[in-house]
């Protein structure tokens, strides 16, 4: 936990070079503005969660940073690191490749294969290298997807509701795993989620996106009771205590 607290006290003000820098990022679909001049710095090594209603532009923001928005109208400046990995809501494993070959997708050589095995071991899937994706449970498949993103040693890990399709118990295990992996490898993480508790548990900093802008930017201090953050975030998301 020590590096965790330290990270909190130093970030985001002291961080030297931001891993991701957005200036006036605007994206629109069919004339509807989804992102409206978003300015955002993600310091290197920070774990950030991005909350918002469905349709608030969370995924659009993530896809813009990932460089996946080819046919989208937009403007603004965006800098992101070279090595970016994305974890999707579905594991997106290719059913015709065995687990290890899925993890190695886009890499080459014997060295990569060794890294792939290590990554699988790290996510607790040692011994399942030769399994077909169909044989994995939902949680295992998502672990394999995490291993696939780790092999590339990303400077930035983008995760688009990666645990949204998992059951509650598996989700808790995955939270622990993701946090461990982050502490070991220290990529910058941007986790898109609609789960307020997930955001508070995992992230050092929580952003709320509303109407295409960053509406709230909170640094999470583990000393402060979670309920306090929870209240503020829910309020920012328009969920008041009477409506609950």
């Amino acid at each position: 936990m020590a590096p965790h607290t330290q990270q909190l006290t130093t970030a985001p003000a002291v961080a030297a070079v931001p891993a991701v820098q957005l200036r006036g990022l605007t994206r629109s679909f069919d004339g509807r503005t989804v992102l409206d001049h978003v300015d955002l710095d993600l310091p290197a090594g920070q774990f950030t969660a991005l909350l918002g209603h469905s349709g608030s532009g969370k995924s659009t923001l993530l896809r813009a940073i990932a460089g996946l928005d080819h046919e989208v109208v937009g403007s603004g400046q965006l800098t992101a690191p070279d090595r970016v990995s994305v974890v999707f809501q579905d594991s997106r494993l290719l059913p015709w490749r065995r687990v290890l070959d899925n993890v190695l997708l886009g890499t080459e050589g014997r060295e990569a294969a060794e890294k792939g095995r290590e990554a699988l071991a790290e996510v607790g899937l040692a011994g399942r290298e030769r399994a077909w994706p169909n044989e994995l449970s939902g949680g295992e498949a998502q672990r394999a997807a995490l291993a696939r993103s780790l092999v590339r040693e990303p400077e930035l890990l983008l995760a688009d509701e990666p645990f949204g399709a998992l059951d509650a118990l598996t989700r808790i295990r995955m939270h622990v795993l993701l946090r461990e992996l982050w502490e070991r490898h220290r990529p910058s993480v941007l986790l898109v989620t609609h789960d307020v508790d997930e955001a508070i548990v995992l992230a050092d900093r929580v952003l709320v996106l509303e109407e295409g802008r960053i509406g709230l930017d909170l640094v999470i201090d583990p000393e402060v009771p979670r309920a306090e953050y929870r209240e503020r975030l829910l309020a920012a998301l328009g969920v008041t205590s009477d409506s609950r």
Partner: protein, 296 residues
């Protein structure tokens, strides 16, 4: 006893199976009580052993019995043993092996040509927009014309020899292979395209590691249709425009009223069709082995 009870009614009622293990099951009442708690299964149940041969075997038995009892006119439907005897005679007297070889050759050439054309065109149309614009509409137009209707034109162009037969078979074969492979190639899941981009795959890697393997199931559907199509067109071609081959043999037999020879021809066509289809399915099972894990 316990295991057999829980196996025959394989629903997942844990409470019921707990009863099965704890309760004395050797009493009839105990068993019925357990059974009653299960839902009625809607699945058709376990497959009968050798279920694929039961129907044909029964058919042959009926045929043989009816022939032996003299219920069938031997001139119209000869007995199974007559057909076998005729097959043996035709084989040893020398015409059958060459007829079979000729037919096989035609089907094989036509199929190979059609397969190559189908795959090449589908790849060109499925992997490039220019290829799609040039090829897809043309093939769809070709598909709308019944291929067997092209026979008269092809005879005029290519003569009544082997070339036109092989050309017709090739056209019948290439269409389903093209259609299915092209549909599979262009229908590749968009999520996999995104994945390939994220993983930094090159265009060639993307095609080889994602598009082609993803399109293989569709290709095999087309391949099986193509194999069937090659036999179908062969039968038609050999019966109306041939001077050798199995169809020619059958056509001659029709003129002389030899129904046993016709049945020999049909039998061999049937065996050819069955063997080639099984071969394709075997290859399919091997190549798409990852799919089988779904059922386990």
């Amino acid at each position: 006893m316990t295991t057999s009870t829980s196996r025959t009614t394989d629903t997942h009622d844990t409470a019921a199976s707990a009863t099965t293990t704890s309760a004395p099951v050797n009493t009839v009442e105990g068993k019925t009580a357990v059974r009653r708690r299960r839902r009625r299964g809607l699945a058709p149940g376990k497959r009968l052993p050798a279920s694929r041969v039961v129907g044909p075997a029964l058919f042959f038995v009926l045929w043989a019995v009816a022939s032996a009892a003299g219920q069938l006119d031997p001139a119209a439907i000869p007995a199974p043993w007559t057909v076998l005897k005729t097959a043996g005679r035709l084989w040893t007297s020398g015409t059958l092996p060459t007829d079979m070889l000729t037919s096989l050759e035609r089907a094989a050439y036509g199929f190979a040509l059609g397969l190559t054309a189908g795959v090449v065109l589908a790849l060109a149309a499925g992997l490039s927009r220019i290829g799609e614009a040039l090829i897809d509409g043309t093939v769809q137009l070709n598909r709308a014309i019944p291929t067997l209707g092209l026979i008269p034109l092809f005879i005029l162009w290519l003569g009544i020899g082997e070339t036109f037969k092989i050309a017709i078979i090739a056209i019948v074969v290439y269409i389903p292979i093209y259609l299915n492979l092209h549909a599979a190639l262009s229908g590749i899941d968009h999520r996999y395209v995104e994945l390939a981009e994220v993983q930094g795959l090159s265009r060639l890697q993307f095609v080889r590691q994602i598009v082609i393997p993803g399109a293989l199931p569709g290709f095999f559907v087309g391949l099986r249709l193509g194999v069937t199509g090659s036999w179908l067109s062969l039968v038609v071609l050999e019966q109306i425009n041939a001077t050798s081959g199995l169809g020619y043999m059958m056509f001659q037999a029709q003129n002389y009223g030899q129904s046993d020879v016709i049945l020999v021809g049909l039998l061999i066509y049937g065996v050819f069709g069955l063997v080639s289809d099984s071969a394709v399915r075997l290859v399919e099972r091997r190549v798409l082995s990852w799919r089988r894990t779904l059922s386990s």
